[in-house]
């Protein structure tokens, strides 16, 4: 495909970067990214990917926009209260960049539909709010060999890592098990600083764009931890676990299943 005059102008600040150029911008325009969650993380991820001109952005989310979301979920507004988040985000992203094909998938992701949902996409972005879905997305991405950019936030702290199945550890190598239910207060009770998902989501979008253009070092095998109060970014290593139940030498998880609802803080 050739860019129109308007597109050349729109993406000129990308094209001028030697690491991106016209070639990289074409890769971005051809890329298909699926985000799970159109909440705190999904909003900035999708917003920046739409601005960057990612060709197809799918948003999987079955929730509706509520007033308490607007403290941080910047793709929604008072005009879209009560609307499905996937539709609300689609409107916002298309208003920013009509080049982008935004696919709103108003379903709750589960073990039955996940493989079909993610199969046609190049990169998956996790911005979900619960452990069962995080483990499910990880397992499905490992099984299909899909790159996964995962981010998580709580209160004043965030975590980001990029999982490249077959080429590094997965989320189960990092945390073997989710916390047991009942040990902890829920996310709603724990709270989150509104701008925190903006920081973490922007890091996730950066990772996605780097993977698309194939430049730089992906954040694989490392967990980046951001502490907003202490103003610290630090990285710890994630060794690949040869005993990992999903990506180890002798995997014991060969089929996807849904874990019961759980909580999100120790």
């Amino acid at each position: 495909m050739e860019f129109t005059e308007e597109q050349l102008k729109r993406y000129s600040r990308h094209i001028i970067l030697s690491e991106v150029g016209g070639k990289g911008q074409k890769k971005i325009s051809a890329a298909k990214v699926l985000m799970v969650g159109a909440g705190g993380l999904g909003c900035p991820v999708g917003y920046y990917l739409a601005a960057a001109g990612v060709g197809t952005i799918a948003i999987v989310d079955n929730d509706e926009v509520e007033l308490s979301n607007l403290q941080r979920q910047i793709a929604h507004s008072v005009k879209t209260l009560g609307m499905k988040k996937a539709d609300s985000a689609k409107q916002t992203f298309e208003a920013l960049n009509p080049d982008v094909n935004v696919v709103a998938i108003k379903e709750r992701i589960n073990s039955k539909n996940i493989l079909d949902l993610i199969r046609d996409y190049d990169i998956i972005v996790d911005g979900t709010d619960n452990f069962p879905t995080r483990y499910l997305i990880n397992d499905a991405c490992v099984m299909l060999g899909k790159p996964l950019v995962t981010g998580a936030i709580l209160r004043f702290e965030g975590q980001v890592t990029t999982i490249l199945p077959g080429d590094g550890p997965c989320y189960r190598c990092l945390f073997e098990e989710p916390p047991p239910a009942g040990l902890v207060p829920s996310c709603q009770e724990a709270g989150v600083l509104g701008v925190l998902p903006g920081v973490i989501g922007a890091l996730q979008a950066t990772e996605v764009l780097k993977l698309i253009i194939g430049k730089g070092k992906p954040l694989k095998g490392e967990l980046l931890i951001y502490d907003a109060l202490g103003v610290n970014f630090r990285k710890v290593k994630i060794p690949k676990n040869s005993e990992c139940p999903v990506c180890g030498k002798e995997p014991t998880i060969k089929e996807l299943s849904d874990m019961p609802e759980q909580y999100c803080e120790i």
């Binding site: 969650g37 909440g39 705190g40 993380l41 999904g42 979301n69 979920q73 996790d126 911005g127 979900t128 709010d129 619960n130 452990f131 995080r134 981010g151 998580a152 936030i153 709580l154 209160r155 004043f156 702290e157 965030g158 975590q159 990092l174 945390f175 073997e176 098990e177 989710p178 916390p179 996310c187 724990a190 989150v192 998902p197 967990l223 931890i225 502490d227 109060l229 202490g230 610290n232 630090r234 990285k235 710890v236 290593k237 994630i238 060794p239 676990n241 999100c264 803080e265 120790i266």
Partner: protein, 91 residues
């Protein structure tokens, strides 16, 4: 000089808001018990029967102790220990 321990935000309520505390050198589990003397309740949040819980990781400098000697890994003065729990929020 002691060991510096980075406390994750969800546990800072136990450490009176401190993001970094100091502990005596020794092994990982002795360090957890030492911290529990100063900050009661910390040990049970991150460990059970002398083992670090499976949804919490402990790093010495940048290395995950599960791939060293787990709870018996020795911690020297000057090391930085990070306690990193799994978090799931995205909303």
């Amino acid at each position: 000089m002691a060991v510096k321990v980075k406390i994750p935000v969800p546990l800072q309520r136990i450490t009176q808001g401190k993001e970094e505390v100091e502990a005596e050198a020794g092994t990982v589990i002795s360090l957890v018990n030492d911290l529990n003397q100063k900050y009661p309740g910390l040990a049970e949040r991150i460990s059970e029967n002398g083992k670090i819980r499976r949804f919490v990781n402990v790093y010495i400098n940048e290395e995950d102790i599960r791939f060293l000697k787990s709870e018996d890994t020795s911690v020297k003065d000057g090391d930085v220990v990070s306690i990193v729990p799994a978090i799931a929020g995205g909303i």
